[in-house]
């Protein structure tokens, strides 16, 4: 062992390790952009990853049908019951009216987004291995006008934000992650606002969490939460998710709620990136 420690081989290997540490430190200073080596590998492996991911998703879907057949049967029965209940409700005019109004609000939100500059539709290359918060990579990057911290969405609602951008591939952090905070407000009452921030328990079910809501709120289960747009990171009035359950925070001073995202983040196949919108904070990168 002593001979090894004194040998040239040891010194060479030590220098190699120091070189790797240097690369790691360099990567930290890149501020959201990939190191050129990683960017090259990403570009090189992109078609293989896309094909492999498609195969894998098909296999998973096929196996899922077999392994969860009982669950689907129960879900089917439950949904049939729900349909019956909903059919009854449809006969009631008030319920119908409120439902239509809610939908109209959602349509208005869609119509009001003329200021958005959108990327081309991005295909989901694959989910980050073993990430409990379902981060994923998309097949568009800086060459397509995408920058770090651009909102990512589907037609149904907000999905997350770009965190690492290379030339042709970008990594997206989802709203299931505790590292992403989104200012949110209830679409029906603008007084009820809070912060949507992922939590480990919620992420297990594909949900996120609304916290820091005052105790005298008017929130109810089923309310749609939309973005406030105050931070300048996310556009205003974009749908995030609906309230699934409401409870008190662990400190008892504020209210929190389980939010079911408008789009199922665990099974995405394509998304869009909002590269620009009115009210966007221009110095996000510097922040």
């Amino acid at each position: 062992m002593r001979e090894f420690l004194k040998s040239t081989r040891f010194k060479v290997l030590l220098a190699f390790l120091a070189f790797l540490v240097g690369i790691m430190i360099y990567a930290v200073t890149k501020g959201g952009y990939s190191v050129s080596g990683a960017s090259f590998i990403n570009t090189l492996t992109k078609p293989f990853r896309a094909v492999s991911n498609k195969i894998s998703m098909n296999i998973e879907t096929g196996l899922d049908k077999f392994s969860n057949a009982d669950e689907y049967y129960e879900e089917n029965q439950r949904l049939k019951q729900q349909i019956g209940e909903l059919n009854k409700q449809l006969t009631e005019f008030d319920a119908l009216k409120s439902e239509v109004e809610e939908l109209r609000k959602f349509v208005i939100i869609k119509e009001e987004h003329e200021d958005f500059v959108l990327s081309q539709p991005c295909e989901v290359l694959g989910y980050i291995a073993n990430d409990p918060f379902r981060s994923f990579t998309i097949d568009k990057g800086s060459a397509d006008g995408i920058k770090p911290n651009c909102p990512v969405a589907t037609a149904e609602g907000l999905v997350g934000i770009t965190v690492e951008v290379s030339e042709h591939v970008s990594t997206v952090r989802t709203i299931l992650s505790p590292d992403l905070s989104v200012g949110a407000v209830c679409s029906s009452s603008s007084a009820d606002s809070g912060v949507i921030e992922g939590a480990i328990l919620s992420a297990e079910n594909g949900n996120t969490r609304l916290s820091h809501v005052s105790t005298d709120n008017q929130l109810k289960v089923g309310d749609l939460m939309i973005t406030t747009g105050r931070s300048g990171v996310f556009p205003e009035n974009y749908a995030i998710g609906t309230i699934k359950s409401i409870s008190y925070d662990s400190n008892g001073l504020s209210v929190c709620a389980e939010i079911e995202p408008c789009t199922d983040i665990r099974r995405l196949t394509s998304v869009i990136v909002i590269t620009d919108f009115s009210g966007k904070k221009e110095d996000i990168d510097e922040d």
């Binding site: 060479v12 190699f16 790797l20 990403n42 990853r49 991911n53 409990p132 505790p178 480990i200």
Partner: protein, 190 residues
């Protein structure tokens, strides 16, 4: 060991080339597998790097470990270079252990893989989740980290067999077989 002829040396060179090509094909496909689908997956590149380190010289092992580490960083979205440093260090240590103390046995490989992949998973959990004190963070350890570790251990059995198969056909032999010794002796006598 007897002196090799030019033809034998050429064959040896080609075999070494093919062997390393196969190692890198295996690494590439493992990387693709790690970036596909939504299920919890084993970190296949850890046992691959270790298995290569066990059977090859230290410089090549260190370089391959660095490559595997960079690919893990990319597939798991970790700081670029973090796993490269970690894996290179472990592979140098493992290579040295095999050179000085250990025999190339399946049990030894499994024990080392278990230890290294556990440390890799634990550090990953520590730096990326526990240190940030998320609520219910221990659930990630039990539901993701341990699962990944167990999957990696199971996968390492197959990786060991694949690399053993590659080495069986393409690794240069350090010692003469009985048949080779007899042939050499016969040639010397004639």
């Amino acid at each position: 060991m007897r002196i090799k002829t030019t033809r034998e040396q050429r064959i040896l060179y080609i075999k070494t080339m093919v062997r390393w090509m196969l190692y890198y094909v295996l690494i590439f496909f493992s990387f693709i597998c790690m970036t596909s689908g939504t299920w919890t997956k084993p970190v296949l590149l850890v046992p691959i790097a270790l298995c290569i380190a066990v059977n090859n010289n230290m410089y090549a092992s260190a370089f391959t470990a660095a490559i595997c580490g960079f690919l893990i960083d990319m597939s798991c979205d970790k700081l670029f270079g973090y796993n490269a440093v970690l894996l290179t260090f472990f592979c140098i240590v493992v290579s040295l252990l095999y050179e000085l103390y250990l025999r190339n046995k399946f049990v030894n490989f499994m024990l080392i893989t278990a230890a290294v992949s556990y440390i890799q998973c634990r550090l990953d959990y520590k730096f990326y989740y526990e240190i940030w004190e998320y609520e219910n963070v221990e659930r990630i350890f039990t539901k993701v980290t341990l699962k990944v570790w167990i999957y990696t251990l199971i996968a390492s059995v197959f990786i060991y067999l694949i690399i053993k198969l590659i080495n069986h056909f393409l690794m240069p032999k350090n010692h003469l077989t009985i048949e080779e010794a007899i042939t050499t002796r016969t040639q010397q006598n004639s």
